[in-house]
């Protein structure tokens, strides 16, 4: 299927306008799902401390121009689902401060990622075909009134580190990898995380996880073979609570360092090495709260990230991103989100010298409007423009349009 590049903004505008024409459901139904609350089952289990949630995400995409392949349009598709079970064992069984999380997931197809050929996948979570696998399974115990939490099991470090209120989920927010997360390696595997909140405004997190695990694997064969393969994160989060005319304006300012336990090839050599170090910053801040927002975070939020990775083993040495996100911008559309993000990935000199001096930097823009059409159904027209997609100098400026459909059951 071929679509002219000039039609992309028109297509996105038409889809958004069609969605805006539909009435939005009442705010009280925000937490509702497509199946609702049959016989009060969902409410009863939630009150008992058990939460079972199922989501499906569909990502039909069009690469309208440019990228790694020819100039023509390419149609792609990927999908994923998430089954999440969260149990508060304090409520369920009197085991105070103990929680359990199971996250089962499946995904298929690579969408248009290969056609675009960018370092930052325009459609995150389109990495491989796996009908079902365990993404997370961990238990957590809190101590000292919740000021200290110890989590152990099969962890997804993206849940713990380099978080961001406005740019951290391809299912809900930006689709592009470099807007969801920076350069930080966030493997899934056996590990532990310790989170301490000594004061209400400071939180410290330390995590150790197996850097060698692969999707679908239990990880016992790689987790304990070599200390050198452990990926370690340390992060400090400063919580700001500014006072605005319409109430509190929460914000989070994170500073982190990591040690990458994966085995990486050193550019220009045949040697490999583990233990590359990197550092990152990530902040989000609500800057404008709407007067009618009440307890909901309606308003304008801003975010930014920056990071540096090891130039010997990472094609991208520096990465920065920033953007804005507005929840409830249009009257009567309190649950819609309009967001714009921008990233720039700057190549490592050593990578350029070894592979392609023509690749200097990749820059991407992403604009989306998440339409909450009915309880449990969010449709998001999304437009991305990637300039000089790497990691070679041959990639041509690419335009990608996506219509994300998220179903909550």
């Amino acid at each position: 299927m071929r679509l002219g590049p000039s039609r992309a903004p028109l297509l996105v505008a038409l889809l958004t306008a069609a969605g805006l024409g539909m009435p939005q459901y009442a705010h009280a139904a925000e937490r509702s799902t497509l199946v609702g609350d049959p016989s009060g089952w969902r409410t009863r289990t939630a009150d008992a401390g058990l939460s079972v949630q199922l989501f499906a995400n569909l990502f039909p995409s069009w690469k309208l121009r440019g990228g790694a392949t020819d100039e023509g349009g390419e149609l792609g598709h990927s999908a994923s689902y998430d089954l999440l079970v969260h149990a508060d064992l304090g409520e369920l069984a009197g085991m105070r401060g103990t929680t359990l999380l199971l996250h089962v997931k499946g995904q298929y197809d690579r969408n248009v990622n290969r056609d675009v050929g960018a370092i930052s996948d325009p459609i995150d979570d389109a990495d491989f075909d796996e009908p079902i696998y365990v993404d997370q399974l961990w238990a957590q115990q809190s101590f000292l009134g919740g000021r200290l939490r110890l989590r152990a099991g099969f962890l997804e470090q993206q849940t713990v580190f380099d978080r961001n209120a406005y740019a951290n989920s391809e299912d809900l927010q930006f689709l592009g990898t470099f807007l969801d997360n920076g350069l930080v390696p966030l493997p899934n595997g056996l590990g532990i995380a310790l989170i301490a909140a000594p004061t209400p405004w400071l939180e410290l997190a330390l995590g150790v996880v197996d850097g060698d695990n692969r999707p679908g694997r239990l990880g016992f064969d790689t987790a304990f073979d070599d200390v050198d393969s452990l990926t370690v994160h340390a992060e400090a989060t400063f919580r700001a609570s500014l006072r605005g005319p319409n109430g509190e304006l929460p914000g989070n300012y994170r500073l982190g360092v990591y040690r990458d336990g994966r085995e990486r090839v050193r550019f220009g050599t045949t040697q490999t090495r583990r233990g590359a170090w990197g550092a990152y910053l990530s902040f989000d801040q609500l800057v404008l709260r709407e007067a009618s927002a009440g307890g909901s975070p309606e308003g304008l939020g801003v975010f930014a990230r920056a990071g540096r990775a090891d130039p010997d083993t990472s094609a991208v040495e520096w990465l920065w991103s920033l953007g804005v996100s507005y929840l409830g911008l249009l009257p009567g559309r309190a649950q819609d989100t309009l967001a714009l993000g921008l990233y720039q990935a700057i190549a490592s000199d050593r990578f350029r010298a070894a592979h392609d001096p023509a690749f200097d930097r990749e820059t991407g823009f992403e604009l989306y409007y998440a339409l909450a059409l009915r309880p449990g159904l969010v449709v998001t027209p999304d437009l991305q423009w990637i300039l000089d997609p790497g990691p070679t100098g041959a990639g041509r400026n690419a335009v990608i349009a996506t219509l994300r459909v998220r179903l909550s059951f």
Binding site: R44, D47, L218
Partner: protein
């Protein structure tokens, strides 16, 4: 990790603890109060409210998957806050008699404080039932101030008797 192993393991753990799930939270936490004195009930409700509020705060700080709808879990906790706050308000009227204030002036002061305490508990219940976690925290702090003020005033005398 083989999904069947994780799913069976989690299901097993949940089955093991499902004894606690067989009754609604209200019955599990409140049934022991049936035979309790008003003083004991007041203490247990206060402790229960403190724990649920703490759990609400922990949830706000928790690092969970972005996909997870934390709002549904927050609403469940707020429902519990509202229910316990209403229970506290309903039993507040018995505090002056249960405290056993001997002097009339002290008793009048205790009644006035109790009425204020009751109103604050009802305000907390209303915020929690409206699903407004931010307002509920503020109202809970106001209720805690009433608790502290009353206990500081009357507990030392109560203990000395």
């Amino acid at each position: 990790m083989p999904p069947w192993l994780a799913i069976c393991g989690t299901a097993g753990v949940l089955l093991l603890v499902s004894g606690g799930c067989s009754l609604p939270a209200e019955e599990r936490h409140e049934r022991p109060l049936d035979a309790a004195s008003e003083k004991e009930a007041h203490a247990v409700h206060s402790e229960r409210l403190r724990r649920v509020m703490q759990s609400l705060d922990e949830l706000a700080r928790e690092r969970l998957p972005q996909s997870l709808d934390v709002g549904a879990m927050r609403e469940a906790r707020l429902r519990e806050v509202g229910r316990v706050a209403r229970e506290i308000a309903a039993r507040a009227g018995s505090i002056p008699a249960a405290a056993g204030a001997a002097e009339p002036e002290m008793f009048r002061d205790l009644v006035a404080r109790t009425e204020d305490f009751q109103q604050r508990a009802l305000a907390l219940a209303a915020s929690a039932e409206a699903g407004d976690a931010r307002a509920a925290r503020e109202k809970a702090r106001a209720l805690e101030d009433a608790c502290t003020g009353c206990h500081e005033q009357f507990r030392p005398a109560h203990r000395s008797r």
